[in-house]
Amino acid sequence: MKFLLLGFCLIIIGGCSVPQEIERPKKYTKIHYSGYFTLTIPTSMLANAKIFDSDGTVIVFDKNKQLSGFIITNEKDNLPEGFDLREYPKYFLELKETDSLSTDVKRMFDLSSKELKESLNGPAISVYEATNKIYYVACKKESCVTFITMKNQNEQIFMLTSEGFGWDFLKNFIEGV
């Protein structure tokens, strides 16, 4: 009887101490936007997704969930040679004054930032730093525009537009977060 009781207790204790296994996707699909920027999507999420090119790869998971990536360079935005693209998100999201910029560049950032605020209806801005990347995230509910810069290069930055994903979920797609 003592052994039976002890065995029962051990089963209960053992059952409680087994760590809960978190189910993680087993397969991932990588989408390379450039040599620097890659998205990593659980392959199972891509079932029934629609993928097309629109200045960068766009993934429509369903009618409410979408990711769209875009590489920004000085040439694409007619920015002066030598402009440090790592500052781009700061100007775009009004984290840095544009007064020191030339008239055209200042106007472009001021107008774009106004448009973004209007589009996302006053988004919350957050900045996250990882080893080699900085993430500038503008989100309103689950609509986000994210700029990703790399500390060790200023040739290009990455913009990720997303619908239906908050930052907490979105960061799983971005390597190095």
């Binding site: 766009v58 979408q66 973004l116 209007e118 913009m159 537009t161």
Partner: protein, 112 residues
């Protein structure tokens, strides 16, 4: 369901705001009511990005057409005559290419 004329007018309107774009044009045959809604939102938020949008807004306010959501769908078939929008001689887009690219992806998404 949009008529051919409405699809053409919608493309001319889009290109007057964002500039001519082969990518968007290649989806023109699939423009639909969702595309009209996206473009209506784009016009509202891009008003400062482009003089063509400002002109469009002024003309619509003057004509009393800009009343509520859905206004673009109502006037789409007569847009060319009313505003004399020309595909040539477009105004430059003042916002960033990042802004343009974002709206381009919304427009194409509406067609698929």
């Amino acid at each position: 369901m949009l008529t051919e004329k409405e699809k053409n007018n919608l493309y001319i309107l889009i290109s007057s705001i964002l500039g001519k774009d082969i990518g968007i044009k290649s989806y023109k045959m699939r423009f639909n009511d969702r595309t009209v809604k996206v473009v209506e939102d784009m016009i509202r938020t891009n008003i400062h990005c482009n003089n063509a949008v400002k002109d469009l807004f002024s003309a619509l306010i003057t004509a009393g057409k800009l009343s509520s959501k859905g206004w673009l769908r109502k006037i789409l078939s007569s847009l060319d005559a009313m505003l004399d929008i020309q595909e040539e001689g477009l105004n430059s887009y003042g916002c960033s290419v990042a802004t343009k690219s974002r709206w381009k992806s919304y427009i194409i998404t509406s067609t698929i």
